[in-house]
């Protein structure tokens, strides 16, 4: 008797689209996580009291000048890393493309380290210099990787080559970083290691405000590419016939990704695997359409990084765990679980 009943008939149908439901749900979750993160920390501060001006001056100072910019930076960097991962995967038509794996992040890192060692003494302009260096580094790697991908054409050989190219670039950048550390002065070395750990510790209003604006611009560029990324999945010739200007799309995604990832690295060092993990998990849940996948990845990345960073600064308080370590620890097992579940379903 029960087997005859059509379960679909009992499913509640909401009058809003799936896209809206998913995005509203993710935004609400992100806001909840932010509220929790705003109240957590080595110093017990109630954000509610701070906002009403009832907290003591030290708490107010710490909350406004340290905790809030850090939260906002976490949102921006998380959204950027995951969003650019989703866009890169769409562009290469390959779920393994990721700013870290392809060497974008380490390329940006090398350039930032170069900047610190060579021009660190130029004072106030050093921040913008660091941003520019990160952008240039990521852009260089992007162009190299694209050159290789173009020469290889499509197919599984290209995937292998891409990953090996990323490995080579990561190794090169690592070696370059080593050389730089070797020739750096003590003061520069301290700055390098502070920056290189992959944490959100360095969030200050001065850096965060500019980063927020630039990252928002990069995210907007990516969002505008969603429909075209969908088309590209048909293969380049077919997509062209379906109305896609592939070279314009590539230029736009490369510039946005390099700008965003370069900035993130310049600010926080390399926080790995966010760009691989978040879009991958969300694609298993939501399907491959970029009009939903891109914004969902941005929200998901922000959510994951805010939660991970809050854990990183509270679990062993007052000491701090590098957040990059935590994102991998949090995301890895879930990713494996999804993979196993998917294999069973097929």
């Amino acid at each position: 008797m029960i087997a005859i009943l059509n379960t679909d008939r009992f499913r509640v149908r909401l009058p809003v689209s799936r896209t809206t439901r998913v995005l509203v749900g993710l935004t609400a979750t992100l806001l909840l996580a932010l509220a929790w993160a705003a109240a957590s920390g080595a110093l017990g501060i109630s954000p509610w009291e701070v906002l009403r001006g009832q907290a003591d001056p030290l708490s107010i100072q710490v909350w406004w000048q340290l905790r809030l910019p850090r939260l906002l930076l976490g949102v921006a960097v998380g959204a950027m890393l995951a969003g650019s991962g989703a866009a890169m995967q769409g562009l290469f038509r390959n779920p393994l493309a990721d700013p870290t794996l392809l060497g974008l992040a380490s390329g940006a890192g090398l350039f930032v380290a170069l900047w610190i060692v060579l021009f660190q003494d130029s004072g106030a302009s050093s921040l913008y210099g660091q941003f520019a260096a990160g952008f240039l580094g990521a852009l260089c790697v992007c162009l190299i990787v694209f050159g290789i991908a173009k020469r290889q054409g499509g197919g599984s050989a290209a995937v292998m080559t891409l990953l090996l190219a990323g490995l080579a670039i990561n190794t090169l950048a690592g070696a370059g970083g080593g050389v730089l550390a070797f020739i750096a002065s003590d003061e520069q070395l301290r700055q390098l290691s502070l920056w290189g750990m992959g944490t959100l510790t360095n969030a200050l209003w001065r850096t965060t405000a500019l980063a927020l604006v630039l990252i928002a611009a990069a995210l907007w560029l990516l969002m505008r590419s969603a429909r075209e990324l969908d088309l590209l999945q048909l293969g380049e010739a077919t997509a062209h016939a379906a109305g896609l200007d592939a070279s314009r799309l590539k230029r736009r995604v490369v510039v946005a990704t390099s700008l965003g990832v370069g900035l993130c690295v310049a600010l926080t060092g390399v926080i790995g695997f966010l760009g691989l993990l978040v879009p991958h998990c969300l694609r298993l849940w939501l399907g491959p359409g970029h009009r939903l996948l891109l914004p969902a990845s941005m929200l998901g990345g922000a959510l994951l990084l805010v939660v991970a960073d809050t854990l990183a600064r509270t679990v062993a308080a007052p000491a701090e765990i590098p957040v990059g370590l935590l994102t991998s620890l949090l995301g890895g097992p879930y990713f494996l679980y999804l993979l196993m579940r998917r294999n069973r379903a097929c």
Partner: protein, 253 residues
């Protein structure tokens, strides 16, 4: 209508200059041995590779002057054996590149015997099923984006659409292509390896060899055993009086 005036490609792979007209409502089949330049010619016809000599005109306007987005209303391409990136659902994939009415998607799925696969993931389909999905997508692009003022159904370019199909599905597809051509006044250009399919269903045939079109016209004229045997370097048995009086070509054992 697509017209060619001494259109050709100079960089390798080359296409020798050729003239021709592809008219609404006809099924034009391009045949030729491996490496003859069939896919290259198709990508020139689609505008993906610009002609390097001569000119192509679509509806009287040079092909290279069409904006990419507008061109997509007038011609679609189904390339050879292209695996879609990621795990699309069949009916979602059909809608890529256009915004089709649900009824159109349903009709096209039905046309190509895909209705039972509408909610399946494309990567879980067999090669032949996936091939039909891609063909349906091409037709969907033309039929949903075609402007209401256009006098014909545009041009559908297909690269070896039967390569993974069993004979039943081959027949169903070729009949369907003829059906679309007649019903929507669509011009269909189709690269085929099976000469008997070409002979049975084509309105006209272009025979390509080493980048040159060496013959064109009615299938019964172009697909004569002497020429075919020479060009393909194959030993043939010619069976006169095949079905409908059309010639059949068979390999000698």
């Amino acid at each position: 209508m697509l017209t060619l005036h001494q259109a050709g490609l100079i960089t390798i792979p080359t296409i020798a200059p050729l003239d021709g007209t592809i008219r609404p409502g006809e099924l034009l089949v391009i045949v030729g041995p491996n490496g003859a330049g069939k896919s290259t010619l198709l990508s020139m016809l689609s505008g993906f590779r610009n002609a390097e000599q001569g000119a192509l005109h679509l509806d009287g306007k040079p092909l290279r002057e069409w904006p990419i987005a507008e061109l997509a209303n007038r011609r679609a391409l189904v390339a050879q054996q292209e695996l879609p990136g990621f795990d699309w659902q069949t009916d979602e994939l059909l809608s890529l590149g256009s915004n089709p009415a649900k009824s159109l998607v349903a009709a096209l799925l039905d046309d190509l015997d895909l209705t039972h696969l509408a909610k399946r993931s494309v990567l879980s389909l067999s090669g032949g099923e996936r091939q039909r999905v891609m063909i349906a997508r091409g037709a969907c692009q033309l039929l949903s984006r075609g402007s209401p003022t256009a006098k014909d159904g545009g041009i559908l370019l297909l690269d070896e659409p039967t390569s993974a199909l069993d004979i039943g599905q081959q027949q169903r597809l070729m009949r369907q292509l003829r059906g679309w051509a007649a019903q929507h006044r669509m011009a269909i250009v189709c690269v085929l390896h099976d000469l008997n399919l070409a002979s049975t269903y084509a309105d006209r045939v272009w025979l390509l060899h080493q980048g040159q079109r060496i013959d064109h016209g009615l299938p019964s004229q172009v697909l004569n055993p002497a020429t075919i045997a020479k060009i393909y370097a194959a030993e043939l048995q010619h069976i006169e009086g095949g079905p409908h009086g059309k010639p059949l070509l068979a390999l000698a054992p």
